[in-house]
């Protein structure tokens, strides 16, 4: 567990409500703690280098957006944060460190299973399991050995409410998740991710396959979720980044070009490439 690696804060017991920090009206909260520290990270797929010397800090309980044209490495960086890249042969971090709560997650002593329990993920394509809605939500807890029916019921309700899905599906919890609409499926995936109560949620273009109405719902959801979770979102949609993120990082060709609060990136970027991209002149 991450806690065994001298994590400063003990985890709150699952039933207890988390301390809710009031979201600041201004996108930047200077007092926020950097929960993820990325230091000089290089990343390679085999021989080809996908990330060059990335350094950035991600603040607790904020939404951080990664933007940039296709192939710029934003998804790669996101997948480094919960080590999903381990599944790809020959892909590895070749330099630098990624620290979560001060622990280098590429340290050989780190239990990657525990890491992924703390760093949840929502994928580009909604991927509910071919099981019932109920079983989808409880999967994460069941594999941790949770068998208490009352507890599971409670988590299902809380997660579905958290994902603004409860009212739509409460009467068909035991029907297949594959019968839901695309937007519902994606929100189910978010509910599934928050059911295990992670610290951080990574979202890899969560709305790219959704229609505008479903997208709006998910964005609204993200806005609500940041009270509890630190969210990192990769998106192609610049309006989305502008709408729902506090800080934005712009990547280009595997390099971090600019990282600042969202308003600055969109209104007053320092780098001409950023300016060109956000104003739609390339990408």
């Amino acid at each position: 567990m991450v806690t065994t690696l001298a994590m400063p804060e003990p985890v709150a017991p699952p039933a207890a409500p988390r301390p809710v920090s009031v979201a600041p009206a201004a996108p930047v909260n200077p007092a926020a703690r950097a929960v993820i520290e990325i230091d000089d990270v290089d990343f390679c797929y085999g021989a080809s280098k996908a990330l060059h010397d990335i350094t950035l800090n991600i603040q607790e309980r904020q939404v951080t957006a990664f933007i940039g044209p296709s192939g710029c490495g934003k998804s790669t960086l996101l997948r480094c944060l919960n080590r999903m890249n381990d599944l790809i042969d020959g892909a590895k971090v070749t330099a630098g460190q990624i620290r979560i709560d001060g622990v280098n997650i590429y340290d050989p002593r780190v239990d990657v299973i525990e890491l992924r329990k703390r760093v949840g993920m929502v994928f580009q394509k909604s991927n509910p399991f071919p099981k019932s809605i109920y079983d989808n939500i409880t999967y994460g807890l069941r594999i941790q050995g949770q068998k208490n029916k009352a507890r599971l019921d409670e988590v299902v309700e809380r997660s579905l409410r958290g994902a603004a899905l409860w009212d739509e599906v409460k009467d068909r919890l035991h029907e297949s998740a594959l019968g839901m609409s695309g937007g519902q499926q994606q929100r189910l995936c978010i509910a599934r991710a928050i059911a295990v109560e992670p610290e951080i949620i990574l979202m890899d273009e969560p709305c790219s396959a959704l229609d505008p109405i479903a997208t709006a719902k998910v964005e609204e959801l993200i806005h609500g979720l940041k009270k509890q979770f630190t969210i990192v979102i990769v998106t192609h949609n610049m309006q989305q980044a502008a709408r729902c993120s506090d800080r934005t990082a712009f990547f280009y060709l595997g390099k971090l070009i600019e990282y600042a609060d969202t308003r600055t990136i969109f209104m007053n970027p320092a780098n001409p490439q950023t300016e060109a991209y956000v104003s739609g002149r390339f990408g």
Binding site: L87, R116, K117, G120, F123, L178
Partner: protein, 549 residues
């Protein structure tokens, strides 16, 4: 692109002309596309027609079985064979008891020789009492056997005459059939040939009168036999050994069962009706539910598929019990756990097994596996295993071990495909929730691929049930329903199979004989089983296919 003014530009047709231009064919007026289309269409049509013809022929030859078997059963009744068999049962029951006595004697001899340590000669003297009893016991059936012999001779003679008559009728019909269309001289010759043939018309009713007349004689003989047996049992020898005495008491029980049977025989024979018509369903049932497959018998042929079907099923079940864990487990390993270099090695290797000709596998089974299994089964430390030591080297398990080898590649390949077809996103989602690889495999990937795995198993079953060479060589080829009384030991009994019987007997049967058609019926049953298995497999795959969104 600016064309240079020096080079003359190609003449360009107006769009209107191009659109309406007729495409010139280059092959008998067909364009390339049309030609290719007709070639493929033709090939597809030929294969469909050939397949349909094969199926039709098989079914046609098989369906002829029903009327022929009907005739067979009709003669069985008319010629009185059925009547004689009622009596034969009694004689068979008696000889079963005699065999039981022989086994008691063997046990006694074993005791005398090994426990009491007597010399063989001395042991024989000690057995003299018992032997005298056993001989007298066996002699009580002599009268019945003589009667049965007479009856058998009468009826076989009758059946033989009927067969000759039928052949003559057939020959006569062949001559007459050839007359239309033949030149006049030849037609006249055929006519004279047909005219001299006078097939006997047998009066079954009259012919079996002597048979029926023997009933009082039988009743008298039976009464004498029962009296003799009663007297004999009263002075049955006693043993010192408790176990042997118990067996002797059991014999008393057998004898009283036998008495009941004997008393029922004559009334049953009296109630037998020669003229009762044989139903068409009986002809079918004799095949579908017949417990005996007896061919080329001097007495009566029976074509019951049950022993063959049971043999095939037994072998298939054993083979699948071996092949499913191996095939599915290796599929899971290769698709989920193995490193790419292992995959490169394991996959072709397993698929290579299916390249071994089954006759080679069968040869291996005879030469090595059967003998090895028997040696292992004879090890004293394994005597607790039911069925050990094996009495036969070649039995259902020998064949099933090799068949499993043939089924593994089928199950492995299809199951592996099914597992690989599980969307990668499921795996990622599960891992991202903090599941271990094992949890992901057991809870997500295998359940998602389950329909494909079940289909793979079904097709493996189809592969096993249709396999011929291995079972013919290694299954022991004893035509009998496996004796389930042996418990689990049943898997070490020799059996015969549906495929094996066709391969073994088809070469020797006269065309269009009853036996020939019976083999076709077995073929049809096999065909239907394969069809069913394939259909089910497809159905399962379609029904439960995961829709990857």
């Amino acid at each position: 692109m600016p064309a240079s003014t020096d080079t003359p530009s190609l003449p360009r047709l107006a769009t209107r002309e191009v659109l309406l231009r007729k495409r010139r064919g280059w092959f008998f007026g067909l364009s390339g596309d049309q030609f290719v289309k007709y070639v493929f269409q033709g090939n597809a049509a030929i294969s469909i027609i050939v397949l349909a013809l094969i199926t039709l022929t098989i079914f046609k030859d098989a369906v002829g079985f029903l009327p022929q078997n009907h005739q067979n059963l009709r003669i069985y009744r008319l010629a009185g064979l059925e009547y004689v068999d009622l009596f034969r049962e009694q004689v068979t029951a008696h000889s079963t008891m005699s065999r039981y006595l022989a086994s008691v004697r063997a046990q006694r001899l074993d005791l005398l020789l090994n426990k009491e340590g007597l010399a063989p000669a001395a042991a024989m003297t000690r057995l003299a009492d018992f032997d005298a009893f056993a001989n007298q016991f066996a002699d009580t059936i002599n009268e019945q056997e003589t009667l049965l012999g007479t009856m058998t001779d009468l009826t076989t003679n009758l059946k033989e005459r009927q067969k000759v008559a039928e052949d003559l009728v057939e020959a006569k019909r062949n001559y007459l059939d050839a007359i239309p269309g033949a030149p006049p001289e030849r037609a006249a010759m055929l006519q004279t040939k047909a005219d001299v043939i006078h097939p006997e018309v047998i009066d079954f009713k009259g012919e079996i009168q002597p048979l029926l007349a023997m009933r009082p004689e039988i009743a008298a003989a039976n009464a004498r036999q029962m009296a003799a047996l009663k007297a004999l049992l009263a002075q049955a020898p006693k043993f010192t050994d408790a176990d042997l005495n118990r067996r002797m008491e059991k014999l008393q029980g057998f004898v009283s069962d036998y008495f009941q049977e004997v008393e029922a025989v004559v009334p049953k024979m009296a109630a037998w009706d020669q003229t009762k018509p044989v139903g068409w369903l009986e002809s079918f049932n004799a095949f579908a539910f017949g417990r005996e497959w007896i061919t080329a018998s001097f007495w009566q042929d029976w074509y019951g598929i049950l022993p063959l079907f049971a043999g095939s099923l037994l072998i298939a079940v054993i083979a699948l019990c071996i092949a499913i864990p191996l095939g599915v487990a290796s599929a899971i390993y290769v698709s989920q756990v193995a490193r790419p270099i292992e995959q490169k090695f394991i996959k072709p290797y397993i698929e290579f097994i299916s390249a071994i000709p089954s006759v080679v596998l069968g040869f291996f089974g005879i030469a090595m596996l059967g003998e090895t299994l028997r040696r292992v089964s004879q090890m004293p430390s394994l005597s607790w295993v039911p069925g050990f030591p094996m009495s036969e080297r070649l039995n259902a398990t020998t064949a099933a071990c090799l068949l499993a080898l043939l089924a593994i590649p089928t199950i492995f390949s299809l199951a592996e495909d099914a597992l690989n077809n599980v969307p990668r996103s499921f795996k990622e989602a599960s891992l991202a929730l903090g599941a271990t690889r094992l949890q992901t495999m057991v809870r997500i990937i295998v359940p998602a691929a389950l329909s494909g795995i079940v289909a793979a198993i079904l097709l493996g079953f189809g592969r096993v049930i249709g396999e011929t060479m291995v079972v013919l060589l290694c299954a022991g080829n004893r035509i009998a329903i496996p004796n389930l009384g042996a418990g689990l030991g049943v898997i070490f009994q020799p059996v015969h199979t549906m495929t094996g019987i066709i391969a073994q007997e088809m070469g020797e049967v006269p065309h269009y004989s009853l036996h020939y058609r019976a083999l076709f019926m077995v073929g049809v049953v096999l065909f239907l089983i394969s069809l069913l298995v394939n259909w089910l497999a497809q159905k399962i795959v379609r029904r439960y296919r995961i829709v990857a969104t």
